[in-house]
Symmetry: D2
Subunit: 356 residues, 4 copies
């Protein structure tokens, strides 16, 4: 459960219903002051129970540093951060012990690990594991910002509602601030309201809905990345698919590129303010696995929350009989909402690794 960058490594610790989750970060330089308020603000964007229509599990998600900091400054030792699991209700999962929830990790995990697997809350496959990822990435976001690289994201799609897209040439801190100011993570407030209605309707119907997160990074120098498996898309997709519920990742025009002609998709070069630059950004800031200097644009598609209140068919693995299942836990109707800061965090880890 480890992000293995060239210079940066993040090992994710714990499981959903144990005493704590956490992360170990190796490879950060010494001498960097971490802004604790900023980190807490990022954690709050991901935490359950803060936004309307999200899980009612209440977690403070306070980040405690066990090692690696000396008076708030990185001291060269690996950073070990810990986040307590406080509001654990394992009883919700007793009845599910032998009945895999549809479209969850339960069934393959049980096959892989056998009866000793601790599947409460999804164990190590839980979305709870994104809390330490967010904390680790939050530190990366701060270091990147100090180097002039800014990362931001918004909900591009929820069900059938689409937010305004990032402008691939000009996206940057201005748009990122606007999203944060809106409370709900969109550029267009009206579209945000529609999305929330869509989520509320799903919740009402004991159902759920999927979404797409669009993430951008501005300020990257050209030439980061490398050929074949060293490409930015390989590195970034591997990290983004580690976020539970992600089913698709695309860069620039992504899947739409398949339906375009080269003459339409190619980004010509010109000289702007004395510097060479592509004049359009269908590439999403990446060519040949390397940054072009224009903003990096990536989309991650999230499936609808698999935990829904409606009756579903499953199997009691102990008695080998088909059963009807109703899931009563406290779940988000749309995981993509709280995933927005996670996508930013994970993207920041990968980009920081390339810049160190």
């Amino acid at each position: 459960m480890k992000y293995n960058g060239d210079k940066l490594q993040v090992t994710v610790l714990g499981s959903s219903h144990g005493p704590a989750v956490g992360a170990v970060i190796e490879g950060l330089p010494a001498g960097i002051r971490i802004d604790m308020e900023q980190l807490a603000a990022l954690m709050a964007r991901r935490a359950p129970g803060r936004m309307a229509l999200t899980s009612t599990r209440r977690e403070a998600d306070e980040v405690e540093f066990i090692s690696g900091l000396n008076s708030g400054v990185t001291c060269g030792a690996p950073i070990h951060l810990s986040i307590r699991n406080k509001d654990v209700r394992s009883t919700d999962y007793e009845a599910l012990r032998n009945i895999p929830r549809p479209s969850h990790a339960d069934y393959p995990a049980r096959i892989k690990y056998g009866e000793d697997w601790d599947g409460r809350g999804g164990g190590q496959f839980s979305a709870r594991m994104t809390a330490p990822l967010c904390a680790a990435g939050g530190i990366a976001l701060q270091i990147l910002a100090a180097r002039g690289v800014h990362v931001g994201a918004h909900l591009a799609v929820v069900g059938f509602v689409e937010d305004e897209a990032f402008d691939a040439m000009t996206v940057g801190t201005e748009q990122f601030k606007r999203i944060l100011a809106n409370g709900f993570p969109v550029l267009d407030v009206e579209k945000g309201k529609e999305m929330q209605q869509q989520i509320a309707a799903a919740l009402e119907a004991q159902d759920s809905v999927g979404g797409i997160v669009e993430c951008a990074a501005a300020g990257l120098p050209a030439g980061l990345g490398g050929p074949l498996f060293e490409g930015i898309e390989s590195r970034l997709s591997a990290a983004l698919f580690a976020i539970p519920a992600v089913r698709g990742v695309e860069f620039g025009c992504g899947f739409n590129a398949a339906r375009m002609n080269g003459s339409r998709h190619n980004d010509p070069y010109g000289i702007r303010e004395g510097r060479i630059s592509p004049l359009s950004n269908n590439a999403g800031g990446i060519l040949g696995g390397m940054t072009t200097g224009l903003p990096l644009i990536v989309h991650a598609a999230f499936k609808p929350t698999p935990s829904i209140g409606q009756a579903q068919r499953s199997v009691d693995m102990k008695n080998m009989e088909e059963v009807e299942l109703r899931i009563s836990g406290r779940h988000d109707a749309c995981v993509a909402t709280r995933a927005v800061p996670v996508v930013e965090a994970v993207t920041a880890l990968v980009l920081l690794d390339l810049m160190l």
Copy 2:
């Protein structure tokens, strides 16, 4: 330029216009006989100049084994295979030395490596590098087949033409054989003809067109993969994005999942022939980063070939002046066509690594 699996490592060697490309494969067990005819057949599906409408560069793409085989059987030493570059026309690239081709790796590679970069034919970023990938993956395909795992792919989309999709519950050797028998890699011969017309039209217009490859793996046991960064999607996407021109990767319903409700997207469980199994396969055979036992389904989107005959705008990096550029080389109008066996090969490498 290396695929770093848990047990399998493949280092890709060479560059487009050097004497040879090749691969080193480490981690294969000793005692496996390689079927050379089958390997040559796979290589032929990728080789230029074989199919109508592909590059007229003629390469035999014969795979020579320098080490690792003892009378055609793996002997425990790493396999070193080499493929000669025979039909190299570097003169095509002389004029381009200082003028980056739009939407190619040229510009960022020049920034990254400086003036000493050998950019003829795209250097180490060339699609030529998929020849050794194909050879390495071709060996993986054979080993997987011997273990009952079969991998196949087809062109799902070219421009605005869509082939019939794989049936996610039943896809397997029967469909794969049908595709091979069709010559052009589609399930529906009529759609294949329309795709070829679309490509011919692009070529006529000195243009190019994108496409989507759908790949499936049947026969996988449940429980392969793992949590977070160990998930199959992370491993497979990292490998697929290493193929030049891939811009998007999705599993199961992929980006469509974002627009679905959970009640529609979830795959219920039932007992079939005495065994537990999901009753539908929107998951594309993967839950929680692990295989479910149903076919694995993945799509990879390819951008239109960036090398087009039409005039394009670029910059002479030496004189720092804007120029008009015409590319005269021998290029495929649709890279997705020859990428079909490459997607199979790369998918096989990742799956074999998990099964070793």
Copy 3:
């Protein structure tokens, strides 16, 4: 701070004077019961303040499992274990903040990390880090034992006193039990008493003394390991040199082999009880980086404890002036003594990785 095996990874957490040290173990199979009493017994052999003549720092070194166990059985999630630092006296180190202790990590660490380095107790370079290594390796020792592989060690040398050596052909559980029964980790009780006198004399003189640990592993199958960098010596030496104060590692006859003839050093083969086996074991159980099936024999040399009470010369790095230094902390006069179980633990990690 991570052991990166092929299948087993151990990340070491914390630092000497933080709230805790710990380890994350990834790659262990699910379903293994851990014997907590046995683990505590191993930890006690390493813990300070237990044996005469060792540091008077009192640490219970109780291993707390944060994740990875389900009712004492591995559940498939990574194991996160934590060991509290209870008896921390950072005041001992205040005066040393700017004065590097001779032959400690202080000076290069200060150069590497700058002023923010938290050097109390040696920070992440402290011998305290061997507590979590011992806990992780203790689990490996148990899993190996269940597979018939037994690892044991003793003090072969302290200063000028030498213990009886392991018999390279027959060493195994019998000898290992004898060592444990002796209290002081030697085969020959009389030699143990002489060693203790040597250590006491050093302590009396406010000085310290070095030592050599001999470790053996019995029951290994032939053919583990591999060529060049995959050899057992490469893997094992990398892990043993990670133990603070180790200055030399040798296998079989080691440095003595340099002074031998081939006819004397070679181990001929014969058939014994129907099986092929070397008839002598100058190789220490390893040929060509692979196990031969005979016991593996390795020596690790430990330097004398650098912290001594005698006056030493150093430099105040802040004022750039030469100073006289007296170290008053609580230190072992011979680190090799408590290192015996650490050598066993680290050896077990590497061997288990090869056997998984």
Copy 4:
């Protein structure tokens, strides 16, 4: 068969009796000119048949660059270098197919890989594999020298003859040049003659003899390396033990440190020419796994060549009967002699990785 540095990776290719051996080097910066004469000179120091008393196998050991160079300058693509195996006499090995040579890799390799293992000349376990290691390390030596770091080695011990030792405070280019000028790799010409007599005597007796190589690196900055498994000793020992026949590795005083007191072994600090420095170098330039700024000193012990002409006992693995074996190939009587440049090369790879 791969050196996996943090930034530098070297994959070793081929086997003793295949068409070629080689190496792939990844992670070198673009724009470095390689001095081919200097590289050839290093290769000649390792090549068989050049020095008296070494194997009569004649290999030109010419290094051919397949990729990675553009007019002699690194171009950013991985370097693929190849060295032909010209003077192969596989017939020498026909008789040995089923009879493992004592103290060679044959027996465990046969167990590991089975009957398909290609053991001619020792296959991938052959000392022939040090030719590509030498070539890769030779490039590293050149890059280090350009950065002011110089690496050199000599034969410290052959049998019972000892050369003068390096002065740990002052060793550098001057001493290295003296060694090269001597022809036989020693500091003291007289001792070199005695060593050669010792080797000649062994050869005469159809026997062999071991040796110790002492290697030093001067000009390293302080603070390279890191804690625990990141320490220089861990990295360097793993690489040195990859050289066939190495049985022991020690740093600074090494095994002698075990017999020393701390007051004698500790290196005090002082101010010299305005800079802090240890005033002695028992540490061999390494403390806490990090460089101190003084010369790095390491010893590697080589066992006597296992291939000797005298009759030895072995087993025919096919017929399972004990046999007498006489080895008739062309072998060095002392592998340590030709290993001197290999130790330099491997040391350079590890140090360059830390400096990139």
